[in-house]
Structure formats: structure tokens, C-alpha cells
């Protein structure tokens, strides 16, 4: 039992990263119908911005975290400008291809400039260490990541459910033309959606740095697939669903590996696909109603 709970706690950080990435994913999909494959590179760019602030400029952790989020937003807006706006309204396949191209382009550029070697991402002192409760180790960084997830998740839900902008986003996701005739500036809503989704990727990037202590140019490749599956599990377009889906996937994957015989650990990535197939067969619309967010 202790082993089980300990492993769950270990999975929480990974789950929170997937939750933040999945929430951003699901927003761009739900509101503008874009499956943004470059989301992983937006995430990676955020991690690099924070890394440079922390290790090159020597700025304090809090400032570096903010700069990481801003870096992610900058790359997110760039993706919107070059890979989405010129082809807006031209169908899912085109958007799929342009965002895929943006993903490869940005990743390759980073590999060229900074190689794909891991770079250290050192944790601030206040996040180091752990509490020992009974036989359980609870890391301070895990507590911090969970607090950030809850606060950011709550803010996001409030924004989407209660504010004027959130209502405009959801109205637009249902019927863009009618939303426009209410005076809703859909161009502006698209930009806001990209900013929020990218900021969430930035938050995920900081969580990643704190959890694993290193970053690299190709770090966005795998999480983005898992995060996409997390948002499918939660019902594409449903922010709350994506957060729950991310946690299920992250914790589930960690437990899966924990109970696998050591020689089969290579099957780790199989887990998300098993979950995806179960969801697609049992409840293809996801756990929560989509299109409502």
C-alpha cells in the first residue's frame, strides 16, 4: 500500500505537466479547431527561456519562471502568425500539416542552435528536500507542482466558465459567425486563446524543469502526444476534462511502470495507447462532455 501511494505521488508531477499541456491543447482545438502539434515546441521554448534566465542571466527563480511563460507565449503567437493565420479556415488537414511543419521547424532550429544535449535546470532551494510522513516521502517540489496545478486550473475554469471572454470563446467554438454578429471580435479571441494555451505550456515547462532538473531541445516531442491523448480522454474541447485526463494518464503511467517487471520497462509508452484504445472503444466522446468546456 505504501508503495502504491508513493508511486502515485511520484506520478503527480508528470500528471500535472500533462494536465497543463492538455488544457492548452484542448482550448486551441475546442475554440478554433486546430490540433496544434507545435504545442510541444511552445512548451520547450518556455523551458529554454526559463533556463537562460536562470542559468545564463542568473536571475532569481520567480523571475525566470515568469520569463519562461512569456517565452512560451512569444513562440505561441509566432506559431499563430506564421502557421495558422495564413491558412485559417482551410480545413483540418491543412492546419494539421502547417502546425506539424512549425513543430519540426522550431525543434530543428533549437537543435541547431543549442544541440539536443540535456541542460541542467536547477531547482530553487525552497523546493529542495522532502517530508517523511510514516514511510512516505513527499517531495516539496511535488507539493509546489500540485499547488500550481490547482491554482492555475481554478483560474482557467473561472475564466472559461464565468468571464465575458470565456463565454465569447465558448460561443465562438459553437458558431463563429453568430458570435461575430454579437460584436465578438473573433480575431481577438483567437489571439487570446493562443496566449492562454501558450502560457499553460509555459507553466508546464517550469513544472518539468522543477520535476526533472534538466531540459533539452527535443523535450516537447513525447509529452505532446501524451497531452493530446489526455485531452481526448477528457473530451476534446473540455478544459476540466483535459486536466483530469492529464492526471489520470500521468499517474497511471507511473503506476504501470512501477508494477511492471523490470525487463518490460521499455513498454512504458504502451500505457497511453492502451488507455486511448479503451477510451475510443468504450466512450469515444471522452469522459466529459466536449464542446462545453
Amino acid at each position: 500500500m505504501t508503495y502504491f501511494i508513493q508511486q502515485m505521488l511520484n506520478g503527480v508531477c508528470w500528471g500535472s505537466i500533462l494536465a497543463m499541456l492538455g488544457a492548452g491543447y484542448t482550448m486551441t482545438f475546442g475554440i478554433i479547431g486546430l490540433v496544434n502539434f507545435a504545442h510541444g515546441e511552445i512548451f520547450m521554448a518556455g523551458a529554454f527561456a526559463a533556463y537562460f534566465a536562470l542559468h545564463v542571466a542568473g536571475l532569481p527563480f520567480g523571475v525566470a519562471a515568469v520569463l519562461g511563460i512569456l517565452g512560451a507565449i512569444a513562440i505561441g503567437l509566432l506559431v499563430e502568425r506564421i502557421a495558422f493565420r495564413p491558412v485559417r479556415g482551410s480545413g483540418m488537414i491543412t492546419l494539421f500539416i502547417t502546425s506539424f511543419a512549425a513543430s519540426i521547424g522550431i525543434r530543428t532550429l533549437f537543435v541547431m542552435l543549442f544541440t539536443d544535449r540535456a541542460k541542467p535546470f536547477s531547482m530553487p532551494a525552497f523546493l529542495k528536500g522532502a517530508y517523511l510522513i510514516g514511510d512516505l516521502f513527499i517531495f516539496k517540489k511535488t507539493i509546489a507542482v500540485v499547488i500550481v496545478l490547482v491554482v492555475v486550473g481554478a483560474l482557467l475554469m473561472y475564466l472559461v466558465k464565468k468571464t465575458k471572454t470565456g463565454i465569447a470563446m465558448r460561443a465562438m467554438s459553437y458558431d463563429s459567425e453568430t458570435a461575430q454578429s454579437m460584436g465578438i471580435n473573433t480575431e481577438k479571441i483567437i489571439i487570446i486563446t493562443f496566449i492562454i494555451a501558450s502560457a499553460l505550456a509555459g507553466v508546464a515547462a517550469i513544472m518539468w524543469g522543477v520535476s526533472y532538473g534538466r531540459i533539452r531541445s527535443s523535450m516537447g516531442m513525447m509529452p505532446v502526444v501524451d497531452a493530446f491523448i489526455a485531452s481526448v480522454i477528457g473530451g476534446l474541447g473540455n478544459v476540466f476534462g483535459a486536466i483530469v485526463g492529464g492526471l489520470i494518464l500521468g499517474i497511471g503511467e507511473t503506476l504501470f511502470v512501477a508494477y511492471l517487471p523490470p525487463e518490460l520497462i521499455g513498454l512504458r509508452t504502451l500505457f497511453v495507447w492502451i488507455v486511448l484504445f479503451i477510451i475510443i472503444i468504450v466512450k469515444p466522446s471522452g469522459l466529459f462532455r466536449a464542446n462545453v468546456k
Binding site: R170, A171, T178, S181, M182, G183, V292
Partner: protein, 240 residues
């Protein structure tokens, strides 16, 4: 009644792709009026409204609203000038609750106080919407959806409301509610451009009317005169 010009279409030509639909349509609506646009299916009534809104860019002609040229304005800017739309088939946001639909309609309002004021006004016009305010709009009945579409358009306190087929598919007592509400809305200062198949209802509450045929205005006049016109009687009112 004031006769200040609110909306003026002069010789507007518009269409979809290569297909022209409107061939030089000219319509005037004065402040405080209810003006009706009659015509059979497919003559361009909805296209006319879409062109005014800016959802469709005209090829030729000019549209003026409240003195300003709105010919090529995008829809959200036209809306900001005070033009609201209650579309044919209602187009309510089926994923939102009733109150969220109304709040979407109030997007242009600046303050919470205004929002509350207009919400109360719409609720008093359609008490049913208040009862159903937390219900998902997609699960409303057809009549309730029509009330919601009208209520949503009124939330912005528009100068002009474009109303497309409000009586379509409604039970007779609901048609009467729609007509009464329009008269009431008009009394509180909103002008209305009404597209309606139910010509009897439309001419009853309007001051002026246009009859469209094949993308052009075929006939126009005071509602009373139109109602007495032999051709209108025969074709649109079903009186031989």
C-alpha cells in the same frame, strides 16, 4: 414619429461565389420604425440581412447606418454600432446555458449594472427564459429557442434589430407573443427590420414594407397600402 434615416441600402448587389443573389436592392429604415421585407423563399431576404451585417461583402452599392458607411465593415464592428441580429433558424449557442447565451448577446455592454438591467428587461419580456436560465440552450423547445434568439439580440440594447423569420414553426399563441414583444421593443426605441413569411403578421405590426422578387425590390409602400394591394393579397396573404 421622427423621420430620421437610420439604415439605408442603395443599389446593393451581392452574392455567393459567382452566383449573384441581390441585384441592386434599395431599402430605407427610419428611426423608430418597424419595416418589413416580404417575399417567397429564395428571393434574397436573408442575403439582404447578411449583407447589412457584413457577413457578406457587397460587390456594389452602399450601406449606411446612422450616417456612417458600413458597406464593408466586419460583422463585429457593425454590431458595435448598434445592429443586432436574430438569425433564421435561431442559431442559439447550443453548448451554453440560457443565461450564458444572453451574456454572449451582451458582449458589447460595458458594465455589470447595464448587464443586469438588460437581463431584467429580457426576463420580463420572456419570463420563460428566466425559469430556464441555467438550462443548456440546446435542450430548449423551438419556441423557447426563438425567445432566446430574440432576447439575446436585445441584450445589447440595439438601435436596429434585424429579425429573420421569427414566427417560423411557432404555435399561434407564440406568434402572438413574438408580435407583441416586437411592438413593445419598438416602443422602447429599437427600430426593427423584419423578414417574415407570415405577411399578415408582418404588415400588421409594420409601418412600411418592401416586397422582394428574384433579388430585387418589386414593390414597396406603407404597410396598410401593401396589405390592400391586389397582388400582395393574392400572392402573400392568400386572399383571392
Amino acid at each position: 414619429m421622427s423621420t430620421e434615416l437610420l439604415l439605408e441600402l442603395s443599389e446593393v448587389t451581392a452574392g455567393y461565389g459567382k452566383m449573384p443573389v441581390l441585384h441592386g436592392v434599395s431599402i430605407k429604415c427610419h428611426r423608430g420604425e418597424i419595416v418589413t421585407l416580404l417575399g417567397a423563399n429564395g428571393v434574397g431576404k436573408t442575403t439582404t440581412l447578411r449583407t447589412i451585417l457584413g457577413q457578406l461583402k457587397p460587390r456594389d452599392g452602399e450601406i449606411k447606418f446612422n450616417g456612417a458607411d458600413i458597406t464593408r465593415l466586419p460583422p463585429h464592428k457593425t454590431a458595435a454600432l448598434g445592429v443586432a441580429h436574430s438569425p433564421e433558424g435561431r442559431n442559439i449557442f447550443g453548448n451554453l446555458t440560457v443565461i450564458e447565451n444572453l451574456r454572449a448577446g451582451a458582449h458589447l455592454l460595458k458594465t455589470r449594472k447595464e448587464l443586469k438591467e438588460h437581463l431584467d428587461r429580457v426576463y420580463s419580456m420572456f419570463p420563460r427564459l428566466k425559469e430556464r436560465r441555467t438550462q443548456i440552450a440546446g435542450s430548449l423547445s423551438g419556441g423557447e429557442q426563438q425567445m432566446l434568439a430574440m432576447g439575446r439580440a436585445l441584450m445589447s440594447n440595439p438601435r436596429l434589430m434585424l429579425l429573420d423569420e421569427p414566427s417560423l414553426g411557432l404555435a399561434p399563441q407564440l406568434v402572438k407573443l413574438v408580435a407583441d414583444t416586437l411592438t413593445e421593443v419598438n416602443r422602447t426605441g429599437t427600430s426593427v427590420l423584419l423578414v417574415e413569411q407570415n405577411a399578415r403578421l408582418a404588415l400588421e405590426i409594420s409601418r412600411y414594407g418592401y416586397v422582394m422578387e428574384k433579388g430585387a425590390i418589386a414593390l414597396e409602400g406603407n404597410a396598410k397600402e401593401l396589405g390592400a394591394n391586389e397582388q400582395v393579397k393574392k400572392v402573400y396573404l392568400g386572399i383571392a
